[in-house]
Symmetry: C2
Subunit: 377 residues, 2 copies
Amino acid sequence: MYITGAGRTKFGVLPQTMPELAYEAMNSAIDDANADVRDIGAIFVSNFIGGPLNGQLHLNSLVASLLPGTNVPIVRVETACASSSTALRQAIFALDHYDMVMVLGVEKMNSRPIIGITEAIAMASDRQLDQASGMIFPASYALIAQQYMRRYGIGHEVLEQVSLINHQNSRSNPLAHFYYKDVTLETIRKSPVVATPLNLFDCSPISDGAVALVLSRKRRSPRDIRILSSQYSTDTLSPSQRRDMTSFAATKIAAHLAYQEAGIRPEDVDLAEVHDCFTISELVALDDLGFSEPGRAPELIMDGQVLRDGSIPVNMDGGLKADGHPIGATGLAQLYELMIQLRNEADVRQVSDARIGLAQNIGGIGGTAAVTLLGRD
Amino acid sequence: MYITGAGRTKFGVLPQTMPELAYEAMNSAIDDANADVRDIGAIFVSNFIGGPLNGQLHLNSLVASLLPGTNVPIVRVETACASSSTALRQAIFALDHYDMVMVLGVEKMNSRPIIGITEAIAMASDRQLDQASGMIFPASYALIAQQYMRRYGIGHEVLEQVSLINHQNSRSNPLAHFYYKDVTLETIRKSPVVATPLNLFDCSPISDGAVALVLSRKRRSPRDIRILSSQYSTDTLSPSQRRDMTSFAATKIAAHLAYQEAGIRPEDVDLAEVHDCFTISELVALDDLGFSEPGRAPELIMDGQVLRDGSIPVNMDGGLKADGHPIGATGLAQLYELMIQLRNEADVRQVSDARIGLAQNIGGIGGTAAVTLLGRD
């Protein structure tokens, strides 16, 4: 099966409403696929937090309102920050029954929220075990950072480098949240503490945005990109129920299944998009995906191997850190970047001879993890 | 494909937490299937309002916490009150890839909510077009009732009869929300006005509860019940964008597809579970499903054709009105009742020689509609 069309909005603090963002992305994707809305047999909508923030659940029907008279099956999927990758998987399942389907990820986070943004995002963590004791996400990822740094003997300068590289990458992505922003190592170092050892520039931003992909069972155009595998796995909601916080079992399992299904190894991957909701999670991801031995991701970073001409270019679009993190759209944004790269349409940020791309998308603190592999035939 | 195990909790105002309800239903379903949790390849969780009410999103990972070490793919689906029926459809899609999967519907509505229950439920309606003008669900269904009653020349006594029959049915269902309650026509008539012409007894209650079903690609036991079809359709979120409020296009389309896939007609159905969130919606459902010509559902009600020995027994469990309406579990509760009936295990409420059962499950004001057909081989 193939991705035959891709569309996205700019990410950032945007004037558009959620329906407007959704419409723009779907319209772009259908246009890019050179298709008609009536070719789409079913739609899968990813959105994380439309209820608590925007007062809008039942988003599948909202999408039906945007496409009047189609009446196709539309469903909403939510698995925290991994929502759009798991929605993709449901769409792939459905491709056995429909010739073409669409996946939409949308999030409108900068609005007049019904409840506070931090409280709303914290709903992706365990209500009884973590929320009740104030373990919001920056605090949880700070614990992970402390353990990783202590266990593997690295300092904050590695995290700073992750932030710097992602911000530099976003400077060649006009759709990125921080495309406009010239960020220096000095800015990153001097940014205010959020939760020790994480500073402001270790954290991804609060973004609005939408991405849509059109999938087809059969190849329709030479620009189509093949879906080699889409897998996801789950783990306990609270990290307090796990033995090790320096690695996510769900990523490892999903990656193992994906590599197996695609018949490839980590070293066959030409570029990757990984889930850097906090800088530390990029390190954990690189280890868990097998791009480095456990604890050796810092070397990939410090040696420049994640740069465009390195051995494993990572987050060419700027990642969650600098492209942005409109939660329900994030997983699809990763695939949007892989599409552009594998189609050889990435302009100044093109990875040369990119044939296989990997995306890793996390929900919560690794309670969900999805790994998707795309390939140019 | 087959439903090979079914489990549910009691519905009502319950002491259990959401995880406890989920665990009880899953455990019962796996037990009923005579299976082991390690036989389950993937899980599909339906929940409507865990974010705004319970502060708990990312429910797929919460379910993973309840089944430690399994790490299987789990996803949450939300399509308002039709969430569990559309989750079922995703599970069926996945049955091409896994031998056995589970669908879980759970809702904990009676709790200390983060925001008010009426405001939270209203999130299933259009934020801009309906919520902003105070069109909460009882108000919308009151408009439907007024139009249906005027167009077809019926009075409130038909709605009272729908309520009475459902309450009487629930008296033979020990798991029903109102099993304990002796409701008379007098009680129904004198109940307080909610939104003219709907009184309190025209409205389904606020229930807690959970239901789980285990699906299998192949028959595993003589008690397994075949899934003949599972279809859903969508429509605009706001009824203000439609021409007719006395009928739901999404129900008609889903029913048409389901009858076609199963190769049957409405008159082949031996019993039905329909979505009586308000009494009026039972009338609309009977018309839309083809059990009556448009506007003739009142005759089915007043002639007693929906009773256990009638031509089309409806809501033998008491329906949403009296069995209860734990939103994310409601569609699966309908299928639970069909399972019991088709297995010929319904005891005093057994419909004789039941071979084909239909369930119709609505989201919002018909923005989503699912129709499922089950059959005894």
